[in-house]
């Protein structure tokens, strides 16, 4: 795949043609009728990731950081090269700030279980928001039950965005960590994390940002943001499952005790005492998901090749088109996403349950997610048991939105009389 082939038709917003780009995703050739609108749950994989991962197993595979032999050295080199790609993707200052984990969930749990007990005391506060995915709620509840921290929740405003004033009012000297999503997975609301980070730091709190939905959609820059932790998962950035990234500022990471014990993370082990590796290896116990990391690197190559500003432009344009088309459907209510919505169209259809909507959509090969989107507190706040959620990727175009709208119309025909 070359840049030229991706950009050869540049009339579309984003400078690439999604329909043409689809040829690089084998899933579409194997499911020709598929209208895939569930990338917020997991994105499809480009050929370069699928083939590149298989190629690694075929030609370069051996365990890493162990063998003296050439194959192991090559494998190590590829694994560490993937770490460099992640560093560049995040514009982190130092490659040692990049820890490979399984997914966003494990990244957050790592912080909660390693940094949490080492730096938090009973009565200290962790501040989250109403927009969070369960993975940025439950790890802090576990920590609360373990060491007696307080979990404080910043509300959203009436538009569905983070209530910044209320958030600011909740910050105090007791606030030790702000853990917040960059973009709400249930609604697509973009959170002004630059502001959140500045305010939190002013109060001396560390900041963790859940970048699961943002990383695939917009440029993220650690040195510009200045957050202490940033977490994202590989399978949502067109990479493999089972691999994710925890970024942590090096001084913060260096002060953290190990998360799991085992091989890879040690310098010297005796039965009396063990000396641990420096970061990031201190946090990567056991044989890592080497092929996953390499596949993630290839996925990031794919994203860089498309251009992250182009992807953002594409998602913004298509989101706008989707909002326009959907809001014309009678009885359809789009969930509010604050000042800025990106890539996610979550809606309630009057008189039709989300599962019935998605069943009808599936019949027309339109794949969407129905339910609470692992954000039950948010659903409760909205007075809904769930919604139907269509989410966008680089391979979607206006025709997909048109098919979605047609399928929704037929659901209305069936259920609303």
């Amino acid at each position: 795949m070359t840049t030229a082939s991706l950009r050869s038709i540049s009339a579309a917003p984003g400078g690439f043609d999604p329909r043409r780009l689809r040829r690089d995703f084998p899933i579409f050739a194997n499911n020709p009728d598929l209208v895939f609108l569930d990338s917020a749950a997991s994105a499809q994989k480009p050929r370069s990731v699928i083939d590149g991962t298989a190629e690694y197993y075929r030609t370069d595979y051996a365990n890493v950081h162990r063998g003296v032999y050439r194959l192991s050295a090559r494998s190590t080199e590829l694994y560490e090269e993937a770490r460099d790609k992640v560093r560049r993707f995040l514009n982190a200052a130092d490659r040692r700030e990049i820890v490979f984990v399984r997914n966003t969930t494990e990244g957050i749990n790592l912080v909660a279980q390693s940094w949490g007990p080492a730096f938090l005391r009973e009565g200290d506060e962790v501040l989250i928001s109403e927009l969070e995915h369960h993975s940025n709620i439950v790890p802090w509840q576990l920590l609360r039950d373990r060491i007696g921290i307080r979990l404080v929740v910043a509300p959203m405003d009436v538009t569905g965005g983070l209530d910044l004033a209320a958030f600011e009012a909740l910050l105090s000297a007791r606030t030790r960590l702000v853990a917040m999503t960059h973009m709400a997975n249930a609604t697509g609301a973009l959170v002004p994390v630059e502001r959140v980070i500045k305010l939190a730091h002013r109060h001396g709190a560390k900041v963790l940002i859940d970048g699961s939905q943002a990383a695939p959609r917009l440029p993220v820059d650690m040195r510009a943001l200045g957050c202490d932790f940033y977490v994202f998962t590989g399978h949502k950035v067109y990479g493999p499952t089972g691999i994710g990234v925890l970024y942590a500022r090096f001084d913060v990471l260096s002060a953290m005790p190990p998360y799991q014990g085992g091989g890879e993370m040690i310098l010297h082990v005796s039965f009396d005492k063990t000396e641990y590796q420096e970061p990031p290896h201190r946090f990567e116990a056991g044989t890592p998901h080497i092929a996953g990391a390499i596949g993630l690197g290839l996925a990031l190559d794919f994203i860089e090749e498309l251009g992250r500003d182009n992807i953002l432009e594409h998602e913004e344009a298509l989101t706008g088109y989707g909002v326009d088309r959907l809001s014309r459907i009678p009885g359809l209510r789009l969930l509010g996403a604050g000042q800025r919505r990106l890539g996610i169209l979550s809606f309630d259809l009057e008189g039709i349950h989300p599962h019935d909507v998605s069943q009808v959509l599936d019949q027309q090969h339109v794949a969407v997610r129905a339910g609470h989107h692992c954000a039950q507190p948010l659903m409760e706040r909205l007075g809904l048991s769930g919604t139907t959620r269509a989410s966008l990727g680089v391979y979607n175009d206006e025709e997909d939105i048109n098919r979605l709208v047609a399928a929704i119309e037929s659901a209305r025909e069936m259920f609303v009389r």
Partner: protein
């Protein structure tokens, strides 16, 4: 792929839109909540028993067309039946929607079973079987638990 109208037959759409016995019973002898954590659907089943006989049965809650219609049809077939009848119907219904072994029911119950037949379309849509059985699981919990509110979860 199976025609969607096999799943959403007219009677299901009708009961989904206009559920029967959709109300609370003031002083039920038996009550239970059903909850499907996977989709967030909730149903509360209320019963009034006179001895072994179901004199009143109703439900409330929110759910998809399938689970609403299933609860509605359930209340219709259960009124006037005995607790044993209810259990036999559930066993039979469960077997029909999951494709399990079904046994012969005595004549009056067999007729009631026919009324539930439209729901067996879920067999071809495994993700929806729980929708059809949620209210029945709640019924079973109610019969076991009496007026102490039991909660049953299906997932």
């Amino acid at each position: 792929m199976m025609d969607l109208r096999e799943l959403y037959q007219d009677i299901i759409l009708d009961h989904g839109r206009h559920p029967r016995n959709f109300r609370a019973i003031e002083n039920p002898t038996h009550v239970a909540n059903g909850h499907n954590p996977l989709c967030g659907d909730r149903v509360t089943v209320y019963l009034t028993l006179d001895g072994n006989s179901i004199t009143d049965v109703s439900f409330q809650g929110r759910g998809c067309a399938i689970s609403t219609a299933a609860a509605s049809l359930m209340t219709e077939v259960l009124k006037g039946k005995t607790v044993d009848d209810a259990r036999s119907l559930f066993a039979q219904f469960h077997a029909r929607v999951t494709g399990g072994e079904s046994t012969d029911l005595p004549e009056p119950l067999a007729d009631e079973m026919d009324r539930l037949e439209p729901l067996t379309g879920v067999k071809a849509f495994p993700a929806r079987v729980k929708c059809a059985t949620l209210s029945w699981h709640a019924l079973e919990a109610a019969l076991k638990g009496g007026d102490r509110v039991a909660t049953v979860k299906t997932e």
